[in-house]
């Protein structure tokens, strides 16, 4: 039976059109995986000699054990965001003559061989081998390696329980961040020293190998907890069923002021608020707004004015770029409807344009407090806003006509590359870099004001020729209409 399951996994992986289509992305992910493996390998090999050299007085093994708390906490956090228990795939198996226990053990067992559990081995094994060469007893080294691997598995199964619990609340990742930072703070300010506690426990296990049974028991307990938790949910109305949100109806009557684009504007606002992935573009606004704080107070960047242009474009345009680069893929789920309804393409695109413009203005207004760091910052932000409205928004809309990747709105937001193609990567750079160049030339040869004026004038030209540009862009969309419909129709 298990061999069947494994074959399914293999086929699922290689037959998914996702794999076949975005080879570039997979190569990138592959590189990342290799990079992490190498990093861990280097860590595993070098940590012993480094510690020995830096602290010749203390025992490197004891020191490493003292740091385990941070390692485990980081591991748990990383898994929380990147590793998911793949329960959705088992729906077709439920009606087949298979014992539920087989399915459950399979799902849980499979998670034990995930990449996240192999990665630490690249550090654990070299370190253990070095221990053997460095006069530690072979048992000590082996027990240490075993303990580390058991702990990795404990984190693996602990993570699924944490995920299940936090999925029950609306707060998603907030609790884990709060708990993790709480633990970290308690430890950091020596209120409860978890790192010492954990270090001492591991030391004790090495001293007395029989104690290794304690982590093993914890592991078995967690496995059992996962098992019973999953068993409860192994019904199509349990976790296999997508959760239904309670609908909140809103009127958004104020959008009427925008005239004939109002229905689309309402639609876009609902799109942003009611779907996970677009909703994250709103939260990114906060990050974008605070981005300036990294650069402006820092004396290192004091003289790098062109760098501030980048920040300005970023702060006033973060929503524009995040939202705009996936036009019209946001609407891919119902693109056929839009194309057969009584809709003028231009209205549809104008609504997107208005949304981006409004966001740039709002971001500029919110960023006014940066004037604290000098009037130049304010001037830069204003110029960046005008440039974003006049040039970048049109570039984004134009780029959208080459968009052939569908987005499933119900999918999660973080680390979701769906809908990302070469176009998105290509379009990102000119949006941020070209304004720097445009500013830099007059800034270098004339002065700061000339650079700002150039940006504002260029943006102004874009705004003046808005209608002309929109006609051109609309034509591009009309030309690629059928290609888009058929691309959005395909499931990734």
């Amino acid at each position: 039976m298990i061999s069947h399951f494994l074959k399914f996994e293999w086929k699922q992986f290689f037959r998914s059109s996702y794999w076949q289509k975005s080879i570039a992305l997979n190569i990138l992910l592959g590189f990342l995986a290799v990079y992490f493996m190498l990093t861990f390998l280097v860590l595993g090999i070098s940590i012993y000699p480094i510690l020995k050299k830096q602290f010749p007085e203390s025992d490197p093994l004891i020191m490493v054990n003292g740091f385990l708390f941070y390692w485990f906490l980081g591991d748990l956090l990383m898994r929380f965001f990147m590793q998911k228990l793949p329960v959705m795939n088992i729906k077709p198996l439920l009606a087949l003559p298979l014992k539920r226990s087989t399915i459950l053990n399979y799902v849980l067992g499979k998670s034990a061989i995930s990449f996240f559990n192999f990665l630490p081995l690249f550090a654990i094994i070299p370190f253990g081998v070095i221990l053997i060469f460095e006069d530690y007893s072979t048992t000590t080294a082996l027990i240490w390696m075993l303990t580390m691997y058991i702990c990795t598995l404990i984190i693996n199964f602990l993570n699924f329980i944490v995920e299940a619990k936090s999925a029950e609340t609306e707060l998603s990742f907030l609790p884990i961040i709060v708990i993790a930072s709480g633990l970290f703070a308690l430890n950091h300010f020596d209120i409860i020293s978890f790192s010492t506690l954990l270090g001492n426990s591991v030391n004790a296990i090495i001293e007395n190998p029989l104690l290794v049974s304690i982590p093993i028991l914890i592991l078995i307990g967690l496995y059992a907890a996962n098992y019973s938790e999953l068993k409860k949910k192994l019904y199509v109305d349990g976790s296999l069923k997508a959760k239904a949100d309670v609908a909140v109806t809103t009127d958004l009557a104020w959008t009427r002021r925008f005239g004939d684009i109002a229905p689309f504007l309402q639609l876009d606002l609902k799109l942003l608020w009611r779907n996970k992935r677009p909703r994250s573009t709103i939260f990114i606004l906060v990050i974008g707004l605070l981005y300036g704080l990294i650069f402006y107070p820092n004396p290192v960047y004091k003289e790098m004015i062109p760098m501030f242009i980048f920040v300005g474009i970023f702060v006033t345009g973060i929503f524009m770029i995040n939202f705009g680069q996936f036009i019209p893929a946001w609407d891919s789920g119902y693109y056929k409807l839009l194309m057969s309804q009584n809709i003028k393409y231009k209205q549809y695109l104008n609504s997107k344009y208005s949304l981006m413009t409004i966001s740039a203005v709002i971001m500029f207004v919110l960023s006014i407090p940066y004037v604290y760091f000098g009037w130049k910052i304010l001037a830069i932000h204003f110029a960046a806003m005008v440039y974003n409205i006049g040039i970048n928004s049109h570039v984004l809309l134009y780029g959208g006509s080459f968009n052939r990747k569908k987005i499933d709105l119900t999918q999660r937001a973080a680390f979701n590359y769906q809908g990302t193609g070469a176009v998105q990567w290509l379009i990102g750079f000119p949006l941020l870099l070209i304004p720097i160049l445009i500013f830099y030339v007059p800034y270098k040869f004339i002065n700061f004001e000339a650079g700002i004026a150039t940006l504002i004038i260029l943006g102004g030209i874009g705004i003046v020729f808005h209608q002309k540009l929109m006609n051109f862009i609309t034509n591009q969309y009309l030309n690629s209409k059928h290609k888009m419909i058929s691309a959005f129709d395909q499931n990734n």
Binding site: A247, K270, Y334, K336, L337, S340, Q341, I485
Partner: protein, 231 residues
């Protein structure tokens, strides 16, 4: 009302639809039947300019659909779930479609009141988004949305599939009344021979993209169709 001229669609070497000539007069209730892969949905997609014809063209009220968009104001369709906007409530969806067709909220509310029976309290006023409704209820919402604004051409792909028996009967009555009381041209496709013969005055059978039968519905039509398909 709808003319197809030398219309064909090929994917690679495979011809999925080939209609040298087909004319559907104004006000007709037109039924399309055929097994899977016969080309029914392809034909509807061509009528709506959602795919490009390999040869030929479609005229909707003398407007060539892939040249001008002026057929859109009087044409409505429900092909599949991709015609629904999942994150809207059914009301919001109806208002949105209504707005595109020049009807305000009050108009839509009046319009919707005639569907109270079909909706069966499961669609309106519920705290659910369209994506969370059952397949059957999604279909109901989609079909009703296609009737908003008195369109002259209504295209429904498989309207009876996924509906409960009561709704099937109500929908049949609704479509018959529509052809009787208005001058709307209705195009439906179905796998259920009984339903199409009850609703449509004319039935065209497609097989591998070709028209093999073109029948004016009569008492014997159902028998004839059953005989044709029971090979």
């Amino acid at each position: 009302m709808i003319q197809s001229i030398e219309l064909s669609k090929k994917y690679g070497e495979v011809t999925v639809l080939n209609i040298p000539s087909l004319e559907i007069p104004k006000g007709q209730a037109f039924g399309l039947v055929g097994n899977n892969g016969a080309g029914k949905t392809t034909y509807f997609n061509l009528l709506l300019d959602l795919i490009k014809p390999t040869t030929g063209y479609v005229l909707n009220n003398e407007i060539q659909v892939n040249k001008s968009e002026d057929w859109k104001p009087f044409t409505a369709a429900f092909i599949d779930e991709s015609f629904l906007i999942g994150y809207l409530t059914p009301e919001e969806y109806f208002y949105f479609i209504g707005e595109l067709r020049g009807m305000n909220k009050a108009d839509i509310d009046t319009f919707l009141s005639q569907f109270t029976e079909i909706f069966n309290d499961e669609i309106l006023g519920g705290k659910k988004y369209l994506r969370d409704l059952s397949k059957g209820n999604q279909k109901k919402a989609g079909i009703v949305a296609a009737l908003i604004g008195n369109p002259e051409v209504i295209i429904l792909d498989e309207p009876f599939a996924n509906l409960d028996p009561t709704t099937q009967i109500r929908l049949k009555k609704l479509l018959r009344d529509l052809t009787k009381n208005s001058n709307a041209t209705i195009l439906i496709s179905s796998h259920d021979l009984g339903h199409v013969t009850e609703v449509c005055e004319r039935i065209v059978v497609l097989d591998k993209g070709n028209i093999v039968k073109d029948i004016k519905t009569s008492e014997e039509t159902l028998k004839e169709l059953e005989a044709y398909f029971s090979v």
